[in-house]
């Protein structure tokens, strides 16, 4: 693919992204903030799925760890937000390592179900440890973030902040994927015996990506807590993990940039469909099923599919 064309595309997207909050109605800016938040968490899942072929159904657990770390350290202990974000990420990394090391020996469905079980155990613990998480009452009054004295207290401001982080994270992931590590990962995904022959320590590599995925989830969770100013167990259920997984699935897992499209879909589609009345969740489900059935490479693969059908 031509590098120059890519650059042009990125520039165009950047310009649109910069102008969006000025053009959009307020609540769509909100939706875009959530798209960014979900996108960061979904990027982690995308790396696991796209590079290692691992289906993660437990990302909401790490998202929750980030959110509760921020909430607890800021509100209960009165520390500065940066501590919450860092502690959440460190804690997630540690837990991901401890869990990942044993379970990443599993493959395919079994691994997917193990991550699902982890997500469920996490959800139950968030309920049970209400001295820490506030249980169903949750923790309120989480301060908004400020950057060099600039309060990020409107959706517009937070939009720029979150999307900047999201795009930087994608860019770093892009470098990772196209670099040496990415090569090893793709070898591991597509031809495990060959990778092994090339002395790629697959298990260690998988664990690293799993930890990275958890850190991204935790970061997204912390940012969510500072935006919503409130966290409760309802935000960290298995359903949320499924939403995160949908991001790479809908966009096409092979492309890290596709995460943007996936994130926009999961945030915007329910919003747009909800105008259609009580059936909106049914329609969202159907939309999802149709994407999985008809678009093997996700929405990113759509142009190629159309070309194949009608072109040449």
């Amino acid at each position: 693919m031509a590098f120059a064309r890519n650059k042009l595309l990125i520039a165009a997207v950047a310009v649109v992204a910069l102008l969006l909050p000025l053009l959009l109605q307020r609540h769509y800016v909100d939706v875009m903030v959530f798209a960014g938040l979900y996108g960061i968490a979904g990027l982690g899942v995308a790396l696991l799925l796209g590079q290692c072929g691992i289906v993660s159904l437990g990302q909401a657990f790490f998202y929750g760890i980030g959110a509760y770390s921020s909430a607890y350290l800021c509100v209960t202990l009165g520390l500065s937000p940066i501590f919450g974000i860092v502690v959440g990420a460190a804690l997630s990394a540690l837990i991901a390592f401890i869990i990942g090391w044993p379970i990443l020996r599993l493959t395919g469905f079994f691994l997917a179900l193990a991550t699902l079980a982890i997500g469920m155990i996490g959800g139950i613990l968030f309920y049970e440890w209400d001295w820490l998480t506030g249980g169903t009452l949750g923790i309120g009054g989480i301060p908004t973030l400020s950057l060099f004295g600039f309060e990020l207290n409107t959706p517009q401001r937070y939009y720029y902040f979150v999307w900047a982080i999201f795009l930087v994270a994608i860019w770093l992931s892009h470098n990772l994927v196209t670099g040496r590590a990415g090569l090893a990962m793709r070898a591991m995904r597509d031809a495990p015996p060959a990778a092994e022959a090339l002395a790629v320590d697959m298990h260690a590599l998988k664990t690293k990506i799993f930890v990275l995925c958890a850190v991204l989830g935790s970061l997204a969770g912390s940012l969510f807590a500072h935006y919503a100013t409130y966290v409760s167990v309802q935000s960290f259920t298995v359903e949320r993990s499924i939403i995160f997984l949908l991001i790479p699935v809908i966009a096409g897992a092979a492309s890290v940039w596709g995460t943007i499209i996936g994130a926009l879909f999961v945030a915007l589609a329910p919003e747009l469909l909800s105008g259609l009345g009580d059936a909106h969740q049914v329609l969202f489900g159907l939309a999802l099923v149709l994407v999985v059935t008809l678009l093997p490479e996700g929405i990113v693969g759509l142009p190629k599919l159309v070309m194949k059908r009608f072109g040449a």
């Binding site: 379970i103 179900l113 193990a114 949908l246 969740q281 489900g285 099923v289």
Partner: protein, 295 residues
């Protein structure tokens, strides 16, 4: 700790075990025939249960035919899912994660659809043999629980006979083990997969019909059922209905022991942890390789 309590916990654990097992059996049937993990197995149960309730209460169909209608509804749903969604994906050789996501999407859609069409009510069926309770060793178990266990056992035996002796059953199993080989032997692979989905749907619906008198069914319980069924099926090695029963028993009983032994709030954590450990330590399920072949 009195004996009565112990028995109560054990017997209710065993009842739960067979609920999990019935969902697990459906999962195992579908996995055996298609190598697809069906994340909407719980929805088959909910649909089967609700259709039976409607047949019985809104249209006055007698119990047994109403249950058959419920089972047929499950089979029909399985058929539709296969023809509309699984076939096109099989044709383009989609990866196993795609099927997982497909069925998750379908589960979500069906759950939302049930809320839309039949509402938020919980639907309860009368128990087979009435709503009586049997007292045993100072523990109380509904008569229906015995039926649930008995019917589950019969289903497992029938499935075993079906897969071992009937030509269709053998063909259905062969299809997933070696689709190309099966096709060269004149087996209609696509048709066998459709049969598998219909059978899985029917077993799922039966589970829902048997569960409905104990706990009632509602639009959002499918996922909880599926998860427990997953755990049971995985412990049993995934492709084996008998394994699913053994898996169900392990989970149901460890939960019961967790209720008596530790705080009941940590019951599900115990079950999930057991599931993860078994997957790592015994990748072929607790019955081992022998279990994979059986069923």
């Amino acid at each position: 700790m009195s004996w009565g309590l112990f028995w109560q916990a054990m017997l209710s654990g065993i009842t739960n075990s067979f609920v999990y097992a019935l969902i697990g059996i459906g999962l195992a049937v579908i996995f055996k025939g298609t190598k697809v993990i069906n994340a909407m197995q719980g929805e088959f149960a909910v649909v089967g249960g609700i259709v039976t309730v409607f047949a019985l209460q809104a249209y006055g169909v007698p119990y047994f035919p109403a249950a058959l209608i419920g089972i047929a509804a499950g089979a029909l749903l399985g058929l539709i899912v296969d023809i509309l969604f699984v076939r096109p994906m099989m044709r383009r050789k989609a990866g196993e994660e795609s099927f997982l996501l497909l069925t998750i999407g379908l589960a979500f859609t069906i759950s939302a659809g049930l809320l839309y069409f039949v509402g938020r009510d919980s639907y309860l069926l009368p128990g087979i043999g009435g709503s009586g309770v049997v007292e045993m060793f100072d523990a109380f178990i509904p008569v229906h629980s015995y039926w649930l266990v008995g019917i589950s056992v019969v289903v497992v035996i029938l499935l075993r006979l079906f897969y071992t002796y009937s030509l269709t059953g053998l063909a259905m199993a062969a299809t997933s083990i070696d689709p190309i080989g099966a096709a060269t032997n004149g087996i209609n692979v696509t048709l066998m997969r459709t049969y598998t989905f219909a059978l899985g749907g029917a077993v799922g619906a039966l589970a829902g019909i048997l569960v409905a008198p104990l706990v009632s069914v509602n639009y959002h319980m499918g996922i909880a059922l599926t998860l427990k069924g997953f755990a049971a099926a995985i412990l049993g090695g995934l492709a084996n209905p008998i394994g699913a029963v053994v898996g169900g028993l392990v989970i149901g009983i460890s939960e019961a022991l967790a209720v008596i032994g530790i705080s009941s709030g940590y019951k599900d954590i115990a079950a999930m942890t057991v599931m993860i450990i078994v997957m790592i330590v015994m990748p072929n399920g607790i019955l081992g390789r022998a279990g994979r072949r059986g069923g």
